[in-house]
Amino acid sequence: MRTVFFCLAFLFLAPIAVWSQKEVTIGFVPCWRVGQLISANQVISDDSIDSLQLKTLRIYLHGVELSYQGKQVWTSGKEHFLVDAMDDSRRSIELLLPEDLEYDELSFVVGVDSSLQVNGAQSGVLDALEGMYWTWQSGYIHWKLEAEAKIGGNGETITWHVGGYRQPFNTLRRVSLPVLSGRTHMKIGIDISSLLAAKQMDVDYTIMSPSKHAMHLADQFQNAFQWLAD
């Protein structure tokens, strides 16, 4: 009798629990300096660069957390997201949050969790088919930026495949941004100009393995995220 009661209660309450959730969408778009959006095939130029055409910007995210007054109030758990900032259909992540959840900070980890790096073949967004897995050595590419640029009169191909989950070249980074609760659609810009500033720190235009250069880029990337107005 008691079991039947609990089953019935679950059947009635479960839909209410689902109804009282809201979907929050966060889009990721490349931008140049503060808020100048970069679209596919667009050529950027300013006083620091002759030209830049962004080809690829793909990023793994996990460990999305929302906090209120310094205390975590929601987490996405182990779920991983693969954001393709150059592809309209794959540039957003969706979070299912409790309707009345209050939060003032959003944070997420850029890259693939270390435990999954040593756990064999994965599926879904972590399928090696996504082209975000190094085959010559085990490990996911946390984020990938490819561009054609002309800098100081020289043509450069930028290939930054940043990965590494072991010390001393662990390039996983957590990004934190202040946020207002209540909005269901948000947009985060990724400032490519700040990454090119990393080049001034003697970072090569081709980075394709865990290294100190990859660490510099990861540090810089961590600070490249900024809120954009709708």
Partner: protein
Amino acid sequence: MARRLGILIAVFGMFAMLSMLPEPPVRWPEKTYVLSAVQQDSMCVELGRALFYDPILSRDSTISCASCHSSYVAFTHVDHKVSHGIDDRIGRRNAPALMNLAWSSTLMWDGAINHLDMQPLAPITNVLEMDEQLPHVLEKLQASEMYQRLFSEVFGDNLVTTERMLKSLSAFLITLESNRSKYDAVQRGEALFSEQEQRGYQLFKQHCNACHTEPLFTNGGFRNNGIALSGDDFGRGEITGIASDSGLFKVPTLRNVYYSRPFMHDGRMARLSDVMLHYGSGSFAPHASIEMKRISPMNEEQRIDLTSFLLTLSDSSFVFEKKHQYPFKLYEEFGVQH
């Protein structure tokens, strides 16, 4: 006084008796690879075997995993210093023997691969080996009648995915267990070493066991064994980026060493006697790992004794196991010809 002397004699006698007891068998450690339920299915192993022997994994369907890992030589590439791959391109390192992979947490001479599932991606995409792209491999397998049926039988539908392909290959590779050598029979109390083998075993334990640790005959680590470094190969250091790892290579298993010549990461030593001369010299380059510096010189008789012991690690039942070999029947059933 007499009582104390009695106790002393009793303790001494006890130790003397203990030293006369046969040594306990060496225990196998826990496996590091955990098979899923699907992978334990014999059909999944068969699918993995079909993939292992199928050159469909290479760009022009000429090179299979077995091209460099032949079953009859303990799954290595005999008589080739380094393997040759597609279009006769010459590789960089000596193909390692494949066995007891359930205990391997790192693979390749430099430990570049951290999980058995991910190992096949390296040769498939290496331009010197199979020179193929993963999406194209999956496309070719999906178009194959044989693989459609095999994937369907194993996974319930015929969808070919990266995860399914890699886990099937692992399921087959895990079956390559070598534990039926004379050494193993001695450990189980079913056989005895000859006097020469026993002397070799003692030498082995004195000089080799620190790195080629029983019962796997590797400690799974990376060491510099004191051979001259080749100019462009820095081994483990290339993977970790740590200067002190430069020149370190994975300690290979000595099981089936009789079958798995040539030796060393670059195949520079063609015969076991060359290897014995190197280790028996007792004199190594200054960059050699600490264990090497503990090896004292061995004379010819000792080298022969040690070789005699190493030959007890030969497991002919493993090398000639039919279940590990080219799946003629399966390919024949589907009219697949290589």
